[in-house]
Symmetry: C2
Subunit: 113 residues, 2 copies
Amino acid sequence: MEDTKEKNFVAINYISCKDHYRERFEELFATRAGAIDVMPGFKYMEVLRPMEEGDNYLIVSHWDSEDNFKTWTKSAEFIKGHIRGFEDIKIAKQKGEEPPMTSSFKTYEVISR
Amino acid sequence: MEDTKEKNFVAINYISCKDHYRERFEELFATRAGAIDVMPGFKYMEVLRPMEEGDNYLIVSHWDSEDNFKTWTKSAEFIKGHIRGFEDIKIAKQKGEEPPMTSSFKTYEVISR
């Protein structure tokens, strides 16, 4: 097994996205502000589009540590990075509609390569 | 958006692992044969251990294309790379036990970084 110090932390945001919102959702990432990129311990992220319709999108972010990730989720950069998506959800709510997307974080440790 | 040619393919094997099998499961990857590494179009893989008990392990493999991935799943290297795990499942079955792990592939395209 690898040295514990070499292990890395991964957070995956599982996004369930309504069909009508997919294009907008992808545009948000294609034009993202890069707010996360300046966070301490952030390494890189990838946005995964499911090949199977109905499966979740995955936003996979790699960090030096879980603490770095947690700090980001409580930061001003987190709000800044999500502001357009949050606004879309708010507007849907005001119209009495279901949210165009819902999300759920799960966290992982890289144990092997 | 990025050029289509720069997009990459990702396969994730979601593994539901019985508690008693977790140590063995992790050992299989820590001592893996590297059978996948020689496949055309294979880029790299990561094994993600869930921080939350009960969540799935994720085996994330990156490929140049979906075709490269599909070729691997039908190859002798696929059998070679999974032979110890397959054997563990076979033994459990012979004992009339539930399989120590179950797995399910989902596939994705990297659309943004």
